[in-house]
């Protein structure tokens, strides 16, 4: 009884339930439940940080929350929303926003992010990150949605650039200009998915380096790296699919190295969401990202781990 009373007081006083665990300069991975025993058995806590899809933890209880509590006690956690539908014109789902805010409060994540995309139209949920035209009208609407999310969770989010396969005839500005506009209007940060940049550049025939040189790097709070697969478009040319089912491509590693040289180390995540490998394989990909960052700023990771205690 005494213990319960003490916990209630902590919550009322707003005292954090978990250690702060800084994330600066660390490489991490998607958190997959099948890896939990391996992660917990790793006494050196070499996992860096872990990112979870928020929606998978919106159930009332059970194994998902039990696993996330264990991970959160030892590591920084990044909460990555997948279906807020920020990029759609219709009002945000208030129930969903409330669930998202409750997770932010409960797990005190080091990073919180969502996508520049939509997934719900009227009442149907399409379970994909669908694209939007880049216009003044859509910019205004998306900015309102970001304001609403940030108000609900009491902190800025990182907004992720999409992978794209086609264009809207009505678009009047570039993706980089659109995202810059969102940062200016809402104060949000950005999650730079370098695999998405490479996929979109290949699919739309632009230079990934040009895109990156126009991207507001100072506002980047996290980087994503992932694998992609190859298909063909109507003309028989290469069409890349953002599939998250394999190792990071060499070209994406190269772009990552360029970005880190330019921007300095940024929390970097290896995303791997299907055909999930053994923990050792996923961990090795994260270690490769860590190695590249350490090369550009050798001291930062040690400082972060020291601060973690």
């Amino acid at each position: 009884m005494t213990e319960l009373a003490i916990h209630a007081d902590r919550a009322q006083l707003g005292i954090p339930r978990f250690p702060a665990h800084p994330v600066d300069g660390l490489a991490g991975t998607s958190f997959k439940h099948q890896h939990l025993p391996n992660i917990l058995a790793d006494d050196e806590r070499t996992g860096g940080f872990f990112e979870v899809h928020a929606e998978n933890y919106m159930g009332a209880g059970g194994p998902p929350h039990a696993a996330l509590v264990k991970i959160r006690e030892d590591y920084p956690v990044s909460l990555h929303g997948v279906c807020m539908s920020i990029g759609g014109p219709q009002p945000l789902d208030k129930g969903h926003l409330g669930r998202f805010a409750a997770l932010v409060k409960r797990y005190e994540p080091a990073l919180v992010s969502e996508h520049l995309a939509w997934s719900t139209h009227e009442t149907t949920y399409y379970n994909d990150l669908l694209p939007l035209p880049y216009t003044e009208a859509s910019l205004r609407r998306v900015a309102e949605h970001i304001d609403e999310v940030q108000e609900a969770i009491g902190r800025p989010i990182l907004l992720e650039n999409p992978s794209s396969y086609l264009l809207f005839k009505d678009s009047t500005m570039s993706e980089t200009a659109f995202m810059r506009g969102l940062v200016r209007r809402t104060g949000c940060g950005l999650l730079l998915d370098i695999n998405n940049v490479f996929v979109s550049a290949t699919n739309q025939g632009f230079s990934a380096l040009d895109y990156l040189s126009d991207f507001p790097m100072a506002d980047v709070g996290e980087i994503h790296l992932a694998g992609h697969t190859q298909q063909q478009d109507d003309e028989g040319d290469l069409l890349l699919i953002d599939s998250h089912n394999g190792p990071v491509a060499d070209a994406v590693w190269k772009l990552f190295d360029v970005v880190i040289a330019l921007r300095g180390p940024v929390p970097t995540l290896i995303e791997w969401d299907s055909a999930i490998p053994d923990w050792s394989v996923l961990k090795r990909e994260a270690q490769a990202a860590q190695m590249l960052m350490d090369r550009h700023a050798p001291g930062l990771r040690q400082e972060t781990l020291h601060a973690r205690g």
Partner: protein, 266 residues
């Protein structure tokens, strides 16, 4: 407010892209939306198909993850075809995919190609209850000594509070036997069972458990879950089944963690 302002600014048309985009998303017979294009004048058909494919395949995979035994029984091709029909008829209404598939067992019951497997819908119902138990709120289970401490005179009026994870699926077929044989990766032998079975699905801690309730016990536990007091639930169990063993039924429901607490009714 928003609509009024948009009309004023003349931007409402610019913001109707989702309606145009989704028109062809679940139906490959529909044309590629005309608001889309490939780069440098390229066509957008195969490019739009990437989204069509992502939506349908990811939802099929969501159903496959929720209903693994159902999929194992039907085989991959059968399951994917059945799931595709269901997705077109009943796409998700919530972004929480662990809520999706609630109508899938009823769909299976109506699905003409599944008629030779009349127990398939009940296996799917057990799988749906399994996932609900998995995500249910955490709660302590009713411990035997709490029940044992009740005064004999009060026993008949005791009301049992269900544990949040508890579910019951009644089948006219041996659905629990078929579910258990197909839920794992092990070999499935010939299933000899033919009697109707009732599944009790619980999650006393972090593991979901599925067990069969014997005839009589299914009525007894079902009555308690509906809020009937202990005395009338026991009478109902006996009434439906002369071999009903009350002591065993109580032991099984306590072991399973089907209830969270007791309170005095009346």
């Amino acid at each position: 407010m928003r609509e009024v302002r948009d009309c004023f600014l003349g931007s409402a048309d610019e913001l109707d892209y989702p309606a145009q985009f989704v028109a062809g998303l679940l139906d490959p017979a529909r044309p590629t939306p005309t608001l889309l294009t490939g780069p440098h004048g390229k066509a957008a058909h195969r490019r739009f198909n990437v989204y069509r494919n992502n939506v349908t395949v990811s939802l099929i995979e969501a159903l496959a993850a929720t209903f693994p035994a159902t999929r194992r029984i039907t085989g991959e091709a059968f399951f994917r075809a059945m799931a595709r029909f269901h997705i077109r008829e009943t796409p998700p209404k919530s972004p929480l995919l662990f809520e999706y598939g609630r109508n899938f067992p009823d769909f299976i019951e109506r699905y003409a190609y599944a008629r030779p497997m009349p127990w398939l819908a009940d296996v799917a119902r057990i799988e749906r209850a399994w996932l609900d138990a998995y995500h249910a709120a955490d709660a302590a289970v009713l411990l035997p000594h709490v029940l044992a401490a009740a005064q004999p005179a009060e026993l008949a009026d005791l009301v049992f509070e269900p544990h949040p994870a508890t579910g019951v699926v009644r089948s006219a077929y041996p659905a629990v036997t078929v579910f258990s044989a197909n839920r794992g990766d092990g070999p499935v032998g010939r299933i000899e069972a033919s009697a109707p079975e009732t599944a009790l699905i619980t999650r006393p801690s972090l593991e979901v458990e599925v067990r069969t309730l014997a005839p009589g016990a299914d009525i007894f536990v079902g009555s308690l879950l509906e809020g009937e007091p202990f005395g009338s639930a026991a009478v109902a169990g006996h009434a439906c089944c002369p071999h009903f063993d009350l002591a065993t039924a109580i032991r099984v429901m306590l072991e399973a963690g089907a209830f969270a607490a007791i309170r005095h009714g009346g």
